[in-house]
């Protein structure tokens, strides 16, 4: 088990990657092929990146936070973590991490959970689940809320105490910190660059992140799914 302070640098050359900036509050959906590597860069620091994975060919198999946690016997994600599916298969593996720890307990913010957590009048505020749903609607894949489970919050700090308490803390990330993961199978990557303004998960100021994709065989086209 990696200690939370350990970090692992990447050996990949960013000049060989296809790069896309995702602004705060935007979504990004991309099919990452087996063998390809995705790096997410926290450009300005303290930015939560809500991320979910579905099997590209059979999306009934999807990322499972609980299986990932229990398979590694540790709550926090970092280099070496295998990101597991609802069927107990490895979907991706985290190969580099200069932040040191990421959350998969807190899930995504939603209009409805914001009403509970902050104020019933907060419903109109933008949220990660709305971004996920728009990305699924635009994908043309007949996917819906049914297909979304608890996700990963890269760069987010949700410490749990030995007594079973939980809190949202200011991020431990900083400008330029990144996390990198290699796909073991073809996966659909669903990202919401978190728009939350009600807690410190984005340092009270949501900012852009960058996606870098390395293809071991050939250049790839990445970017947002075009409007059909």
């Amino acid at each position: 088990m990696s200690a939370v302070t350990e970090t692992v640098e990447s050996r990949l050359d960013p000049r060989r990657a296809v790069r896309t900036v995702v602004e705060a509050g935007d979504h990004w959906m991309h099919e990452l092929k087996a063998g390809q590597t995705l790096r997410i860069v926290d450009l300005e620091g303290n930015q939560a990146v809500d991320t979910f994975f579905l099997d590209a060919h059979d999306p009934a198999e999807r990322y499972c936070a609980q299986t990932t946690i229990r398979a590694q016997g540790n709550l926090y994600l970092t280099a070496g973590t295998r990101l597991m599916s609802t069927r107990g298969n490895t979907m991706l593996e985290i190969t580099a991490d200069t932040c040191g720890r990421h959350d998969t307990l807190g899930g995504a913010c939603a209009a409805e959970s914001n009403q509970v957590r902050y104020d019933i009048a907060k419903r109109p505020m933008h949220s990660c689940r709305d971004s996920f749903l728009l990305a699924l609607a635009r994908s043309g894949r007949n996917l819906s809320k049914r297909d979304i489970g608890p996700n990963i919050n890269f760069f987010m700090n949700v410490p749990v105490t030995p007594e079973g308490g939980l809190s949202f803390e200011d991020g431990i990330s900083a400008p330029g910190k990144y996390v990198e993961m290699k796909a073991v199978r073809d996966v659909l990557v669903l990202v919401s660059n978190c728009p939350q303004l009600n807690n410190p998960c984005n340092g009270w100021n949501p900012t852009p992140v960058e996606m870098l994709v390395w293809d071991p065989w050939r250049p790839v086209q990445v970017g947002r799914i075009p409007v059909s």
């Binding site: 088990m1 198999e61 509970v116 957590r117």
Partner: protein
């Protein structure tokens, strides 16, 4: 206040499901003190709404389930409240066991060889029970493990800790019409390699509706708002 409607015995290694109504309850009694019951919930009249553990944990600032906390759906509603709990800690982190985990830990025991003492697992139990209502793998929620204590140490390491409280019980009061699924199978982190799943008694109750000062409602301001949103479903 609650009255018993009926009770059933859930043997170790078996699963159970039911549609239960708002203001009904379910008390689970573990005579052995070593049972584990995986449990999940969906909204009965719209199962795309289901137990959401991230929302449950972050709005109540908890990483375990106990009295008087609630289980929330992904739509800001209260599916169930814990109205009584003598165990003190139910795991919310580790989810469902699966066939590969059970075979690796306990070995193979097929129906052909072991009949109804065969090795079962929580994931397949939940899929089978969901199938009885026309639901499938796409509808699979995350799950809690009743009667199992898993704490988080410095650095994030999980620690399964035996509770050993014979006769321990927990009671849920449903705040919505729900589909409930339970599986009496060993916790994924239970270190024992002997297949000995313990059963529980299931008592289906009629409960008094929660009052304005109900502890599940007043324990946090977030819970009061979740109850308000839930009441709007039944106006």
């Amino acid at each position: 206040m609650s009255t018993l409607l009926y009770s059933e015995t859930l043997p170790g290694g078996a699963s159970w499901s039911a549609r239960l109504r708002r203001s009904q309850g379910l008390r689970l009694v573990d005579a052995s003190g070593t049972a584990n019951v995986a449990l999940t919930l969906l909204r009965a009249d719209d199962p795309t709404e289901r137990l959401n553990l991230p929302d449950t944990l972050k709005s109540q600032h908890i990483a375990r389930l106990t009295y008087p906390y609630v289980l929330q759906s992904d739509m800001g509603h209260v599916l169930a409240s814990v109205t009584e709990d003598t165990s003190g800690w139910h795991d919310v982190l580790c989810g469902l066991s699966d066939a590969a985990l059970v075979e690796a830990k306990y070995g193979e025991a097929t129906y052909q060889a072991a009949r109804n003492a065969r090795h079962t697992n929580a994931r397949e139990h939940v899929l089978v029970e969901l199938g009885k209502y026309g639901l499938s793998e796409r509808d699979l929620p995350s799950a809690v493990n009743l009667f199992s204590r898993v704490s988080v140490k410095e650095g994030g390491a999980l620690a399964w800790e035996p509770q050993g409280k014979p006769g321990q019980s927990v009671t849920l009061r449903f705040e919505m019409d729900v589909l409930i699924v339970v599986s009496a199978t060993p916790h994924p982190l239970d270190p024992s390699t002997t297949w000995a799943p313990q059963g529980v008694e299931l008592e289906v109750l009629r409960c008094s509706p929660p009052r304005a000062d109900d502890p599940s409602r007043t324990v946090r301001p977030e819970n009061d708002r979740a109850f308000t949103l839930t009441e709007r479903l039944y106006l």
